[in-house]
């Protein structure tokens, strides 16, 4: 079956969402992935939306992080401070992040290309990304994979990955044992090698070689001992996505 790069990303992300876990859901792909996960894999996934919705049943795809669908039949509807403080207290397991640039420690830039005071391209900024990346236990980064995005040095650290390496998060005052967990891209899935905290290839997407991934990564990528192959989107996944979750094809 044919599928788009976004559909693949959505399926890979949805499969990572554990049942009975809390996950911070942002606009776009995470919303589609959470909807798909609730439908197929994790009916008791607890989606958390930054403007106040917790534990919604995602019957209709939310279009914004504060729309009615983010607290549809929810267990709790509060506000942004309550949600962000809940994350700061360690309640929220997963967070999903995107970005324009990423380095080998998983630091993310979504603020600016060029200098902050005289930008070449002004990007949308942190939004909740810095908070999600600071407080959630495991952040999962979703990105397109090419050398303009996977860079040895990014222009601006909007959201903390492992900063300058082992121990750097703790030294900066960030909560213990938090940080990037997976990087899911159009080409592959990476984790972070526990000692060096550097990005490591663990699985390639269908039709993608290790060489393709290396060629499209602007820094040295560590290699897992055994590199897995990701399953392509399955029929039931694509059916749920196309015919139920995003019938109007707003995203896919």
């Amino acid at each position: 079956m044919q599928y788009s790069p976004n559909e693949l990303l959505i399926c890979l992300a949805a499969r990572m969402m554990e049942d009975n876990s809390t996950a911070f859901i942002g606009t776009g792909i995470p919303m589609l992935a959470a909807s798909l996960a609730q439908k197929l894999y994790s009916p008791n996934l607890v989606p958390v939306f930054e403007f106040g919705g917790t534990g919604a049943i995602l019957e209709k795809l939310p279009l914004a992080v504060g729309d009615m669908r983010t607290f549809n039949k929810a267990l709790h509807a509060s506000g942004i401070c309550d949600i962000m403080e809940t994350a700061q207290r360690g309640i929220i397991e997963y967070g999903f992040l995107g970005g324009a640039q990423i380095d080998c420690y998983g630091n993310l830039n979504s603020t600016v290309i060029g200098s902050q005071s005289k930008p070449k391209v002004r990007l949308p900024g942190s939004g909740g990304a810095n908070d999600v990346g600071s407080h959630c236990w495991k952040t999962i980064i979703l990105m397109q994979h090419d050398t303009r995005r996977f860079m040895p040095k990014i222009d601006f650290v909007t959201t903390p990955g492992f900063l300058t390496g082992p121990g750097a998060r703790e030294k900066a005052g960030l909560p213990k044992e938090t940080g990037p967990y997976r990087v899911v891209t159009t080409l592959a899935v990476m984790d972070f090698e526990p000692k060096s905290k550097r990005m490591r290839l663990i699985a390639t997407n269908p039709g993608v070689t290790v060489g393709d991934v290396v060629k499209n990564t602007g820094f040295e990528l560590l290699m897992a001992e055994k590199i897995q192959r990701n399953e392509p989107p399955q029929e039931k996944e694509l059916h749920a996505l196309r015919d139920e979750i995003d019938k109007d094809r707003l995203y896919i």
């Binding site: 992080v65 504060g66 939004g127 810095n130 601006f156 030294k171 909560p175």
Partner: protein, 309 residues
């Protein structure tokens, strides 16, 4: 071991001045009903620091935003967590400085109006924060304290290009980020229901309405519906913004159009797309503004054009 973001505060705060201002505001139950035009001209002057509460296109006070553009402010300073409203104000060159967290069009991509404003230098100063940081800065002001601590922003350029500080916690010795209070000259919030005195109810999630309303020296409320105070008194736990915080109450049905309003109406996707398409260039957005903002005397005229009889 203490550290500071590089930027000076765009909006320095003075808690004593805020207290004195809050003391002077009337505690009497007097009607504050007025038009968008009166609310904006009475409670905003050029150069002021303003804040708009919303979540993306949801519950965004668009009728007030259009009136701000119509009154041709040129040097506003703002707290920017925004989509449609801030893109439009940037397109109309209303803004000179920003405390920035997220400004973009969500699924429709980056805000070209903001890009033009920032990259051209028309917008003179941009200071970085996270979403929670801006909300907590309002919360600090709402609590009447000079700062709140957080573990956000640490270790990043977001901190470096902010006006936050970090200290070692006097209790734990560990590093913590301090967010300075953000007291608005004027806050603008759209609600489901208000009485004429300004007691407000919001359905569902409440974003940062509670915090921002309490952080505002002047507060403009627009409401889908004006209700009797007896309705307020029947369920006082529903009052999220009490009247003594409020200076203007504007009756604004479809006040969030073309965005959505919880329990009232969904987004006008067609109009939104039209706007976002127009916003791509300076010329086309000017045409949009000429027609839909400058070309309309007031919100009633706008709504008559949107929903022709």
């Amino acid at each position: 071991m203490s550290d500071s973001g590089t930027y000076e505060l765009i909006q320095p705060f003075d808690l004593e001045d805020f207290r004195a201002h809050n003391r002077k505001k009337t505690k009497a139950l007097t009607s504050k009903l007025m038009s968008e035009s009166d609310a904006v001209s009475r409670f905003i002057k050029d150069g002021d620091y303003i804040g708009i509460e919303l979540y993306g296109t949801v519950r965004c006070p668009m009728s007030i935003t259009r009136e701000i553009i119509r009154q041709r402010f040129k040097r506003l300073r703002m707290a920017g967590q925004g989509v449609l409203e801030i893109d439009m104000m940037a397109a109309a060159n209303c803004i000179k400085a920003l405390d920035w967290t997220y400004i973009g069009l969500e699924v429709y991509g980056v805000s070209n109006s903001m890009r033009r404003g920032v990259e051209s230098g028309y917008i003179e100063k941009v200071v970085e924060w996270s979403n929670a940081a801006i909300a907590w800065r309002f919360k600090a002001a709402a609590m009447g304290v000079p700062f709140l601590p957080t573990r956000s922003m640490l270790g990043t350029d977001t901190f470096k290009y902010s006006s936050a500080k970090s200290i070692n916690c006097p209790f734990t010795g560990k590093k913590v980020c301090l967010l300075p209070a953000l007291i608005l000259d004027t806050g603008i919030i759209h609600v489901n229901r208000a009485d004429k005195y300004g007691n407000c109810q919001i359905d569902g999630i409440s974003g940062f309405a509670a915090e921002m309303s309490r952080a505002s020296k002047n507060l403009i409320i627009s409401a889908e519906e004006i209700i009797d105070t007896d309705e307020i008194r029947k369920a006082p736990e529903k009052t999220i913004i009490p009247y003594y915080l409020v200076d203007a109450v504007v009756h604004a049905p479809f006040g969030s159009h073309p965005g959505e309003m919880v329990n009232c109406y969904e987004r006008d996707e067609k109009h939104l797309k039209m706007y976002f398409e127009a916003a791509k260039s300076e010329e086309t957005v000017k045409t949009y503004l000429d027609k839909w903002v400058y070309g309309m005397k007031n919100n009633e005229e706008y709504l008559n054009a949107i929903f022709p009889k």
